[in-house]
């Protein structure tokens, strides 16, 4: 039982570490892009419309700067939350690595309890991150498309689009890649949360057994 538990727990911790790392990188990129948009909007380096084919609307630049500023603040908050989750996972992962394959039963249970406590502490943050990652993914997808397309025409027979500049294709691929990473991160966070919520429920059920053992069960 011990080997199977160790293998499953170790794999989950390593994979959750990877997702947290991915999320951290994505949050940093989101901040950088937010800053870039603020600077571009404030300095007025571009007069292009926000949506291709639409006319330039007065005040739109300031509005987009304000939105970018909100995104920047959200990005900072996001990175701080991710760092808190990331730190906890790194500590548990390192302790598991230090213990190696010859880990004792008690040490393994201790790490499981620590991970459960860490999950309980950050449950709400993880829920928020699932939402933020999904929204972020969608926003980056729209941003990537909007900045690269010159004309997009949709008719009953299909749709046609023209790229603004071929040089924008790598930037578009990058933005779409970030969008995909964000959506993947959201998907895996929700998968992780679902599994660990089930475990918390299972612990709730097993508490009856512990209660009986301690002589606290009144029934």
């Amino acid at each position: 039982m011990h080997e199977q538990t160790l293998s499953q727990f170790g794999t989950e911790i390593r994979q959750f570490f990877l997702i947290s790392l991915l999320n951290l990188v994505f949050a940093a990129i989101a901040i950088a892009i937010g800053v870039q948009y603020i600077v571009t909007a404030i300095l007025g380096q571009t007069l292009d419309p926000v949506i291709p084919g639409f006319p330039v609307i007065p005040g739109m630049r300031m509005l987009s700067a304000a939105i970018a500023l909100c995104c920047f603040g959200l990005g900072i908050q996001w990175i701080l939350s991710t760092v808190r989750i990331f730190e906890g996972v790194v500590m548990i992962k390192d302790d598991l690595k230090k213990a190696g394959g010859a880990i004792t039963d008690t040490r393994l249970t201790c790490l499981i309890v620590r991970m459960l406590a860490h999950y309980r502490d950050n449950r709400r943050t993880i829920r928020t991150m699932i939402l933020v990652c999904t929204l972020g993914g969608v926003c980056f997808f729209v941003l990537g498309m909007a900045n690269s397309l010159k004309v997009l025409s949709i008719s009953s027979g299909g749709f046609a689009f023209t790229f603004d500049n071929l040089l924008l294709i790598p930037a578009m691929i990058l933005t779409l890649g970030i969008s995909l990473a964000s959506l993947l991160s959201s998907y895996y966070f929700s998968k992780f949360a679902r599994v660990w919520d089930q475990r918390l429920n299972a612990i709730g059920r097993s508490e009856c057994t512990l209660k009986q053992k301690l002589g606290l069960d009144e029934t």
């Binding site: 039982m1 199977q4 538990t5 794999t11 994979q15 406590a117 612990i203 508490e207 512990l210 002589g215």
Partner: protein, 91 residues
């Protein structure tokens, strides 16, 4: 250990730590408890016969009894079972 834990997890942690007899302050520091709740937990465990207070040279130390071993083993098996049954998390 810190973070949000259930009372049973705290009991387990105290009992595991006290396999070697420990003074009160060491227990509350290690288990991240305040002295009031720490005292309550220790009194409860001592009352159930899972902890034994030993006073030597004016210093009181708490040590786990043989009965505590059963609780520790039951707790470990219940928590490790969580990872034996699907669903598990995979990328």
């Amino acid at each position: 250990m810190s973070g949000r834990r259930t009372i049973y997890e705290i009991y387990w942690e105290i009992l595991v730590y006290c396999r070697t007899p420990r003074p009160f302050t060491a227990i509350i520091n290690r288990c991240d408890l305040n002295s009031k709740t720490g005292q309550e937990y220790l009194e409860f465990l001592a009352g159930k016969g899972y902890l034994q207070a030993v006073t030597e040279e004016g210093k009181t130390r708490y040590g786990s009894t043989k009965e505590a071993g059963e609780y520790i083993a039951l707790f470990s098996s219940l928590y490790q079972e969580l990872f034996d049954n699907p669903p598990g998390f995979r990328l």
